[in-house]
Protein backbone atom coordinates (compact mmCIF):
# COMPACT_ATOMS: atom_id res chain seq x y z
CA UNK A 1 0.00 0.00 0.00
CA UNK A 2 1.47 3.39 -0.93
CA UNK A 3 1.21 6.56 1.16
CA UNK A 4 -1.73 7.97 -0.85
CA UNK A 5 -4.03 5.01 -0.27
CA UNK A 6 -2.93 4.83 3.37
CA UNK A 7 -4.15 8.38 4.04
CA UNK A 8 -7.49 7.59 2.33
CA UNK A 9 -7.96 4.37 4.28
CA UNK A 10 -10.50 5.69 6.88
CA UNK A 11 -13.17 6.15 4.18
CA UNK A 12 -15.48 3.11 4.24
CA UNK A 13 -15.68 1.27 0.93
CA UNK A 14 -17.14 -1.98 -0.35
CA UNK A 15 -13.91 -3.58 0.82
CA UNK A 16 -14.39 -2.45 4.41
CA UNK A 17 -15.07 -5.18 6.96
CA UNK A 18 -18.80 -6.05 7.12
CA UNK A 19 -19.05 -4.80 10.69
CA UNK A 20 -17.99 -1.20 9.90
CA UNK A 21 -21.06 0.97 9.14
CA UNK A 22 -21.33 1.77 5.45
CA UNK A 23 -24.06 3.44 3.42
CA UNK A 24 -24.47 1.51 0.15
CA UNK A 25 -24.36 4.01 -2.71
CA UNK A 26 -23.53 7.66 -3.12
CA UNK A 27 -24.39 9.97 -0.21
CA UNK A 28 -26.11 12.36 -2.66
CA UNK A 29 -28.66 9.71 -3.72
CA UNK A 30 -29.59 9.19 -0.07
CA UNK A 31 -30.36 12.88 0.40
CA UNK A 32 -32.37 12.70 -2.83
CA UNK A 33 -34.22 9.63 -1.49
CA UNK A 34 -35.05 11.48 1.74
CA UNK A 35 -36.48 14.40 -0.29
CA UNK A 36 -38.56 11.97 -2.36
CA UNK A 37 -39.84 10.18 0.75
CA UNK A 38 -40.89 13.51 2.26
CA UNK A 39 -42.78 14.46 -0.93
CA UNK A 40 -44.60 11.11 -1.06
CA UNK A 41 -45.28 11.32 2.69
CA UNK A 42 -47.05 14.67 2.29
CA UNK A 43 -49.07 13.20 -0.60
CA UNK A 44 -50.07 10.13 1.46
CA UNK A 45 -51.12 12.26 4.46
CA UNK A 46 -53.14 14.60 2.20
CA UNK A 47 -54.93 11.56 0.72
CA UNK A 48 -55.67 10.07 4.15
CA UNK A 49 -57.06 13.30 5.62
CA UNK A 50 -59.12 14.13 2.50
CA UNK A 51 -60.54 10.60 2.64
CA UNK A 52 -61.52 11.10 6.29
CA UNK A 53 -63.83 13.92 5.17
CA UNK A 54 -65.25 12.01 2.17
CA UNK A 55 -65.57 8.44 3.46
CA UNK A 56 -68.53 7.27 1.36
CA UNK A 57 -67.25 8.77 -1.89
CA UNK A 58 -63.75 7.32 -1.40
CA UNK A 59 -65.12 3.86 -0.44
CA UNK A 60 -67.42 3.70 -3.48
CA UNK A 61 -64.82 4.84 -6.02
CA UNK A 62 -62.05 2.74 -4.49
CA UNK A 63 -64.21 -0.35 -5.11
CA UNK A 64 -64.13 0.46 -8.84
CA UNK A 65 -60.31 0.29 -8.92
CA UNK A 66 -58.62 -2.74 -10.43
CA UNK A 67 -57.12 -4.23 -7.26
CA UNK A 68 -55.77 -7.22 -9.20
CA UNK A 69 -53.70 -4.86 -11.36
CA UNK A 70 -52.45 -3.05 -8.24
CA UNK A 71 -51.43 -6.35 -6.60
CA UNK A 72 -49.80 -7.61 -9.80
CA UNK A 73 -47.78 -4.40 -10.01
CA UNK A 74 -46.68 -4.85 -6.39
CA UNK A 75 -45.42 -8.35 -7.26
CA UNK A 76 -43.59 -6.97 -10.33
CA UNK A 77 -41.87 -4.19 -8.36
CA UNK A 78 -40.86 -6.53 -5.52
CA UNK A 79 -39.48 -9.06 -7.99
CA UNK A 80 -37.59 -6.33 -9.86
CA UNK A 81 -36.10 -5.22 -6.52
CA UNK A 82 -35.07 -8.82 -5.79
CA UNK A 83 -33.40 -9.06 -9.21
CA UNK A 84 -31.53 -5.80 -8.54
CA UNK A 85 -30.27 -7.22 -5.22
CA UNK A 86 -29.06 -10.32 -7.08
CA UNK A 87 -27.35 -8.09 -9.66
CA UNK A 88 -25.50 -6.21 -6.91
CA UNK A 89 -24.54 -9.48 -5.20
CA UNK A 90 -23.29 -10.91 -8.52
CA UNK A 91 -21.13 -7.84 -9.18
CA UNK A 92 -19.75 -8.05 -5.63
CA UNK A 93 -18.80 -11.65 -6.42
CA UNK A 94 -17.00 -10.55 -9.61
CA UNK A 95 -19.62 -11.99 -11.95
CA UNK A 96 -20.40 -9.08 -14.29
CA UNK A 97 -22.22 -11.20 -16.88
CA UNK A 98 -24.56 -12.57 -14.20
CA UNK A 99 -25.05 -9.05 -12.87
CA UNK A 100 -26.08 -7.79 -16.32
CA UNK A 101 -28.58 -10.65 -16.73
CA UNK A 102 -30.21 -9.96 -13.36
CA UNK A 103 -30.51 -6.29 -14.31
CA UNK A 104 -32.11 -7.20 -17.62
CA UNK A 105 -34.65 -9.33 -15.72
CA UNK A 106 -35.35 -6.37 -13.40
CA UNK A 107 -35.91 -4.12 -16.44
CA UNK A 108 -38.37 -6.72 -17.78
CA UNK A 109 -40.37 -6.56 -14.53
CA UNK A 110 -40.28 -2.75 -14.58
CA UNK A 111 -41.61 -2.74 -18.16
CA UNK A 112 -44.32 -5.16 -16.99
CA UNK A 113 -45.32 -2.60 -14.33
CA UNK A 114 -45.51 0.11 -17.00
CA UNK A 115 -47.69 -2.08 -19.26
CA UNK A 116 -50.11 -2.99 -16.42
CA UNK A 117 -50.33 0.64 -15.29
CA UNK A 118 -50.99 1.94 -18.80
CA UNK A 119 -53.75 -0.68 -19.20
CA UNK A 120 -55.24 0.45 -15.88
CA UNK A 121 -55.14 4.13 -16.92
CA UNK A 122 -56.68 3.31 -20.31
CA UNK A 123 -59.62 1.49 -18.67
CA UNK A 124 -60.06 4.32 -16.14
CA UNK A 125 -60.11 7.01 -18.83
CA UNK A 126 -62.73 5.02 -20.79
CA UNK A 127 -64.92 5.10 -17.68
CA UNK A 128 -64.64 8.90 -17.54
CA UNK A 129 -62.09 9.08 -14.72
CA UNK A 130 -60.18 12.37 -14.78
CA UNK A 131 -58.35 14.71 -12.40
CA UNK A 132 -61.52 16.78 -12.02
CA UNK A 133 -64.11 13.96 -11.84
CA UNK A 134 -63.83 13.56 -8.04
CA UNK A 135 -61.40 14.14 -5.13
CA UNK A 136 -60.66 10.41 -5.06
CA UNK A 137 -59.85 10.31 -8.78
CA UNK A 138 -57.66 13.40 -8.42
CA UNK A 139 -55.61 11.63 -5.75
CA UNK A 140 -55.65 8.28 -7.52
CA UNK A 141 -54.38 9.73 -10.80
CA UNK A 142 -51.88 12.24 -9.39
CA UNK A 143 -50.41 9.88 -6.75
CA UNK A 144 -50.07 6.90 -9.08
CA UNK A 145 -48.81 9.04 -11.98
CA UNK A 146 -46.22 10.74 -9.74
CA UNK A 147 -45.04 7.26 -8.78
CA UNK A 148 -45.27 6.08 -12.41
CA UNK A 149 -42.81 8.82 -13.47
CA UNK A 150 -40.41 7.55 -10.80
CA UNK A 151 -40.69 4.05 -12.28
CA UNK A 152 -39.84 5.46 -15.73
CA UNK A 153 -36.76 7.25 -14.33
CA UNK A 154 -35.88 4.06 -12.43
CA UNK A 155 -35.98 2.10 -15.69
CA UNK A 156 -33.63 4.60 -17.35
CA UNK A 157 -31.25 4.19 -14.39
CA UNK A 158 -31.54 0.37 -14.55
CA UNK A 159 -30.73 0.50 -18.27
CA UNK A 160 -27.59 2.55 -17.51
CA UNK A 161 -26.66 0.06 -14.78
CA UNK A 162 -27.22 -2.84 -17.19
CA UNK A 163 -24.90 -1.19 -19.71
CA UNK A 164 -22.28 -0.63 -17.00
CA UNK A 165 -22.53 -4.23 -15.82
CA UNK A 166 -22.34 -5.50 -19.40
CA UNK A 167 -19.10 -3.54 -19.86
CA UNK A 168 -17.73 -4.95 -16.59
CA UNK A 169 -17.56 -1.60 -14.80
CA UNK A 170 -18.78 -2.95 -11.45
CA UNK A 171 -16.60 -5.15 -9.28
CA UNK A 172 -15.60 -5.37 -5.60
CA UNK A 173 -14.27 -1.94 -4.62
CA UNK A 174 -16.02 -0.28 -7.58
CA UNK A 175 -19.65 -0.80 -6.65
CA UNK A 176 -20.71 2.80 -6.06
CA UNK A 177 -22.53 3.36 -9.37
CA UNK A 178 -24.42 0.08 -9.10
CA UNK A 179 -25.33 0.59 -5.44
CA UNK A 180 -26.49 4.16 -6.09
CA UNK A 181 -28.87 3.12 -8.87
CA UNK A 182 -30.07 0.14 -6.83
CA UNK A 183 -30.93 2.41 -3.86
CA UNK A 184 -33.08 4.59 -6.13
CA UNK A 185 -34.96 1.59 -7.55
CA UNK A 186 -35.63 0.16 -4.09
CA UNK A 187 -37.01 3.56 -3.00
CA UNK A 188 -39.52 3.42 -5.87
CA UNK A 189 -40.55 -0.05 -4.62
CA UNK A 190 -40.71 1.12 -0.98
CA UNK A 191 -43.12 3.95 -1.76
CA UNK A 192 -45.44 1.59 -3.64
CA UNK A 193 -45.60 -0.65 -0.55
CA UNK A 194 -47.54 2.16 1.16
CA UNK A 195 -49.38 3.41 -1.93
CA UNK A 196 -50.94 0.03 -2.76
CA UNK A 197 -52.66 -0.69 0.58
CA UNK A 198 -53.52 2.99 1.11
CA UNK A 199 -55.20 3.69 -2.24
CA UNK A 200 -56.32 0.23 -3.39
CA UNK A 201 -57.17 -1.67 -0.19
CA UNK A 202 -57.97 0.35 2.97
CA UNK A 203 -61.67 1.16 3.20
Amino acid sequence: MDHTSATLAPIATADSPPDSPRLAGDLAIWFFILAELLAFGVFFAAYAFTRASNLELFAAEQQALNRDAGALNTLLLLTASYFVVRAVQAAAATRPAHSARWLLAAIGCGLGFVAVKLGEYSAAFEQGVSLSSSPFHMFYLSLTFFHFMHVILGLVILAAMWNGARLGRYRPGEMNGLETGAAYWHMVDLVWLILFPLVYVIN
Binding site: A24, A45, T79, Q89, V201, N203
Partner: protein, 93 residues
Amino acid sequence: MRADVHGTPTRATVLWAVLIAATLLTWAMGEGGLGGPLTLAILASISLLKGGAILLDFMALRHAPLLWRALTLGWMLLVWALIGIAYWKGLAQ
Protein backbone atom coordinates in the same frame (compact mmCIF):
# COMPACT_ATOMS: atom_id res chain seq x y z
CA MET B 1 -20.02 -15.80 -2.49
CA ARG B 2 -18.47 -13.58 0.14
CA ALA B 3 -20.87 -12.05 2.60
CA ASP B 4 -20.81 -8.26 2.44
CA VAL B 5 -23.41 -5.58 3.19
CA HIS B 6 -25.66 -6.97 0.46
CA GLY B 7 -26.15 -10.32 2.18
CA THR B 8 -26.38 -13.70 0.51
CA PRO B 9 -28.53 -14.81 -2.45
CA THR B 10 -30.30 -17.33 -0.20
CA ARG B 11 -31.36 -14.65 2.27
CA ALA B 12 -32.52 -12.39 -0.57
CA THR B 13 -34.58 -15.23 -2.08
CA VAL B 14 -36.24 -16.08 1.25
CA LEU B 15 -37.08 -12.39 1.81
CA TRP B 16 -38.50 -12.11 -1.71
CA ALA B 17 -40.78 -15.11 -1.06
CA VAL B 18 -41.97 -13.57 2.22
CA LEU B 19 -42.61 -10.23 0.51
CA ILE B 20 -44.65 -11.95 -2.22
CA ALA B 21 -46.69 -13.87 0.38
CA ALA B 22 -47.33 -10.66 2.35
CA THR B 23 -48.52 -8.92 -0.84
CA LEU B 24 -50.95 -11.74 -1.58
CA LEU B 25 -52.28 -11.43 1.99
CA THR B 26 -52.85 -7.68 1.52
CA TRP B 27 -54.62 -8.36 -1.80
CA ALA B 28 -56.81 -11.07 -0.22
CA MET B 29 -57.84 -8.69 2.59
CA GLY B 30 -58.98 -6.21 -0.06
CA GLU B 31 -60.87 -8.91 -1.96
CA GLY B 32 -62.57 -10.01 1.26
CA GLY B 33 -63.87 -6.45 1.68
CA LEU B 34 -62.51 -6.34 5.22
CA GLY B 35 -62.60 -3.01 7.03
CA GLY B 36 -62.26 -1.53 10.49
CA PRO B 37 -59.41 -0.54 12.77
CA LEU B 38 -58.09 -4.10 13.13
CA THR B 39 -57.81 -4.49 9.35
CA LEU B 40 -56.01 -1.13 9.12
CA ALA B 41 -53.61 -2.24 11.88
CA ILE B 42 -52.86 -5.49 10.03
CA LEU B 43 -52.37 -3.77 6.67
CA ALA B 44 -50.11 -1.15 8.29
CA SER B 45 -48.08 -3.87 10.04
CA ILE B 46 -47.62 -5.81 6.79
CA SER B 47 -46.54 -2.62 5.00
CA LEU B 48 -44.11 -1.73 7.80
CA LEU B 49 -42.58 -5.22 7.82
CA LYS B 50 -42.21 -5.20 4.03
CA GLY B 51 -40.72 -1.70 4.09
CA GLY B 52 -38.35 -2.74 6.86
CA ALA B 53 -37.11 -5.68 4.76
CA ILE B 54 -36.57 -3.42 1.73
CA LEU B 55 -34.75 -0.77 3.78
CA LEU B 56 -32.65 -3.00 6.02
CA ASP B 57 -31.80 -5.79 3.58
CA PHE B 58 -32.35 -4.75 -0.04
CA MET B 59 -31.05 -1.21 0.55
CA ALA B 60 -28.43 -2.59 2.99
CA LEU B 61 -29.25 -0.04 5.70
CA ARG B 62 -28.73 -2.76 8.32
CA HIS B 63 -25.02 -2.02 7.82
CA ALA B 64 -25.36 1.76 7.51
CA PRO B 65 -24.88 4.38 10.24
CA LEU B 66 -27.82 4.42 12.69
CA LEU B 67 -28.94 7.89 11.55
CA TRP B 68 -29.99 6.57 8.13
CA ARG B 69 -31.96 3.70 9.60
CA ALA B 70 -33.69 6.10 11.98
CA LEU B 71 -34.57 8.57 9.22
CA THR B 72 -36.02 6.02 6.79
CA LEU B 73 -37.75 3.68 9.25
CA GLY B 74 -38.96 6.77 11.13
CA TRP B 75 -40.46 8.08 7.87
CA MET B 76 -42.46 4.85 7.42
CA LEU B 77 -43.70 4.94 11.02
CA LEU B 78 -44.65 8.61 10.73
CA VAL B 79 -46.58 8.08 7.47
CA TRP B 80 -48.56 5.15 8.92
CA ALA B 81 -49.17 7.10 12.15
CA LEU B 82 -50.64 9.96 10.09
CA ILE B 83 -52.78 7.50 8.10
CA GLY B 84 -53.96 5.99 11.41
CA ILE B 85 -54.85 9.43 12.84
CA ALA B 86 -56.76 10.32 9.66
CA TYR B 87 -58.58 6.96 9.82
CA TRP B 88 -59.54 7.58 13.46
CA LYS B 89 -60.72 11.09 12.51
CA GLY B 90 -62.95 9.52 9.84
CA LEU B 91 -64.41 7.03 12.31
CA ALA B 92 -65.14 9.80 14.81
CA GLN B 93 -67.34 11.67 12.33
